[in-house]
Symmetry: D2
Subunit: 300 residues, 4 copies
């Protein structure tokens, strides 16, 4: 009976060809916009792989499109392609747009406190190759999860945060993040995020919370839910805005419960749905599938 050192059994995320791009646009809805984008890409030598589009009204609404394509030599040509797209298409239709390389994973910081269900699910899915991200760091206001995060090969930083040193702690986190990440995921980070932090961080933040809000606000939401006899427990993942839990919703889900579930069972089941919902929301963001429309989202 011998045991040997493990080799990685899950291959890293498939080598996405370097020549795959993703173009995400939004603009006032105008006849001809789909044709203009697809003709531009085709003329540039690109082969459209997927195309999702949405208009918020039959006329006079807002138009959204996500297109993935293959274009040999994309990496070298991207800057010039983007400039040409601006001149030839985007300016004409008043578009906001992003042109990204599919093969270039986003750099992500995960902020956590003491519970591990969300961060471990993200790290595990990333190791399997299911998420298009490089985890630049895990940051926590507690030291507890260091030994759980580091075996995944990611740096863990402990930044103690209390009511008294919030400004200082946020500055230390901003120093860690600056220039290093494209996305911050609050994976059950139990500290308030200030408007100042949001103004400075310069990248989107995704948060996860239980779905009862605005019901059962404040401490002990699961106990309050138990007292009301709710039959569903849910979680909501959303972008963080200055109104902390009111930002645009990316993903939601629920599980059924009944009277046999004690409050601690609700907490446990809530954790299950939280990790599933947060992982799906992060996956969608990483693939540039989430487009903002005011306080709402379009998830292609």
């Amino acid at each position: 009976m011998t045991t040997t050192v493990a080799l990685p059994s899950t291959p890293p995320r498939g080598p996405v060809p370097a020549d795959q791009g993703c173009l995400v646009v939004q603009c006032p809805d105008t006849p001809g916009v789909v044709s203009a984008i697809s003709t531009f890409l085709t003329a540039a030598g690109a082969n459209i792989l997927t195309l999702d589009q949405h208009a918020t009204a039959e006329t006079g609404g807002r138009f959204f499109q996500r297109t993935t394509f293959r274009l040999p030599g994309l990496v070298a040509a991207r800057t010039e392609l983007e400039a040409r797209f601006a001149t030839e298409v985007a300016d004409r239709f008043g578009m906001q747009y992003r042109l990204t390389e599919v093969g270039k994973p986003k750099r992500v910081a995960i902020l956590v406190s003491k519970t591990d269900h969300c961060v471990l699910d993200l790290l595990w899915r990333n190791r399997r190759g299911d998420l298009a991200m490089d985890v630049a760091m895990v940051v926590s206001n507690h030291p507890d999860l260091a030994d759980r995060a580091r075996p995944f090969g990611v740096p863990f930083f402990h930044v103690p945060a209390t009511r008294d040193n919030r400004a200082e702690a946020e500055q230390r986190i901003l120093e860690l993040l600056r220039g290093n990440v494209d996305l911050v995921v609050l994976a059950r980070y139990m500290q308030i995020i200030t408007s100042e932090f949001l103004a400075e961080v310069g990248v989107p933040l995704i948060n996860i919370h239980h779905s009862f809000l605005p019901a059962f606000i404040g401490a002990g939401p699961y106990q309050k839910a138990k007292d009301r006899g709710v039959k569903l427990i849910g979680a909501t993942a959303h972008y963080v805005t200055p109104d902390l839990d009111e930002g645009p919703i990316i993903e939601q889900d629920v599980v059924r419960v009944d009277h046999r579930h004690a409050t601690h069972d609700l907490v446990r089941l809530g954790a299950d749905v939280e990790r599933a919902v947060l992982s799906r929301a992060v996956a969608a963001h990483l693939e540039d599938r989430v487009l903002l429309d005011g306080n709402s989202t379009i998830v292609f």
Copy 2:
């Protein structure tokens, strides 16, 4: 090619034997209570068919039990059995209890306004024999649904109700209900129910509403949900208390939606989940499966 008059294709609800009973109790949790009930029933000659019980805490909580049993001659013996149960068991444990005959359907009034999805689902399920109820009447503040309800063989009464005649309209409805029903179902009845009505009606009321509350309160909840980009649409069935939409929850469910669903699609999908949730809640109540525990429910 001949067509003939239809015979009913669905047999009426199976002839539940006249000797099946249901005993529902609640009391402070005390050692020996399960044994006391089951021993009483066995000694009385009953065979226990199903038994569900629940205690809200390991010690010092509240105890709930629903027992169905077969007892030859139950109909004739019920009054005496109930009296003996009071003396021998209920008084000793400080129990509230109900002893009902399973074969005796509850008499139900369905209150509706103009939309038919909830009332038709209830009437259709009842015709198939899936609900243990006799529909005594459908009452509406609009005449529109008369021709849809009456083919199911139930009386339809039109009681116009406006802001100005609410008290009078409620009195007319109370006259119709008095002595005739064991349950009132608000199947999308778009009128406020006053505390006075609740105080006088003397039977439980079950209501159905969308699940966003307390979010998106007031008019146009689906438009507000659309603006927020919610990914789930739900419905909640609950008992009516003077706090109209805050009563004990009986059943909830949700359906997934996305940005492609216009507001009218959310309304339509909301109707689907409303009819499913209301029918399940009513079915549970009719079978004496719903026990009240403060503002919460136990649904066996």
Copy 3:
């Protein structure tokens, strides 16, 4: 207390503007195909409303697209538009295509036997305006459902069918259908459909059955499922091919069950999921959302 004749409370399906079209195509995947279609439509004066596309592989696969658009004067221009599309686009890419008017509902025959759950859900949804269909007729091998179907304003034809007169019965049904319908829905029609019937009917057929297949084949599937202790009951809607229950799947769903459900409960819950799945499958077909890819479907 007066009751009056009901007025229809549900407005008929929204007056879809006469100038909305739907173009569905499939062809070998080729660079430039999206651009070609959208450029053709834009040049023709159409405004694209929605566009869904799918390729079965990154290269060398098959391409599918559904585009809805508004084109003033579509009804008058449709024939010429179709001819031009054939010449300018379809021939070039080897496309199969359909160009339909969104405002022109499909004509549907519903075939039933004795159980009403599927047919009533379809008729009720159609009356609310949720389905883009005109129900040309309900045909049954039993007379039972005449009085349930006709109140919806649809003709009901009784065509007795037995093992002995199958060929004759199928001929009578074919006479009823010929030229009158665009779709046949088998809404729990408990007769075998022969290959001869399929060869002659000339329109698609959609069927619904329980989801256990190929398990629990033959009579009494719910009893067999009960004996195996299954925890999920499901239904599958599919197009009918000569291999009756092996045709391309359009929609599936399930409900949870447990040991407390007797076999007749499984049948009843199976009916719930059957009506939901069939209605969703029919809705998708009516809106030209279902594209065939070999024995598989793409449902946009």
Copy 4:
């Protein structure tokens, strides 16, 4: 910025009081059985905490009951209590029964091959205190997962198994298991289990597989499912019998998929549902909630 060694953030599974017991019985259904059990327990000084019972028919069926209770001094009294229960109750009703201490976790071996989703979910849930088990060992026919399992503090044994050394490998596994475990979980163990192994192992085995069976049998089930265009992907957890994938079902679940999911997405989503279903099945077994009724299960 300091980081420190992590302390466990999740408390171990709550210290279940040593005086909680679980009594699981089955016997031919007989009047008086519920009363006999509850009276026995009450007379013995036990306080019933939960009671679930089920009869497979109104009369003449089989009866199943699971009762949890608190009895001060249970650990010391258990042997004598069991003997008295045999004499006073079990023999009289022809019962099979098990009397277990809730606070005594079952000893479990987890058998795996190369994929980690099921084993890591079990180990993670166990570390959080959600599962009533001690993981005695992880055994694999590959060395790959050693470094993923051992950080959870469990032994990992590598037992190479091939077509040629199956008998020998099974013998080595049996030696490891003998006397050490109460349950074996096949958490994606991709080796055939022989009847000889089952005959010798002496404890139950739980397996997990995709839910298509008997459809898409053999290699590549997800590709076959993709080719058929299935809309649901599911998993089934069951006890292992000599008919490998035909044993009594404990738990099942599904997730929705559509044409946009490539075969490798189906595999990935299948893994998600597999880990959820297996963890729920194992949790139910560990708490003595699963009772066998022929080839079916009752899961209280």
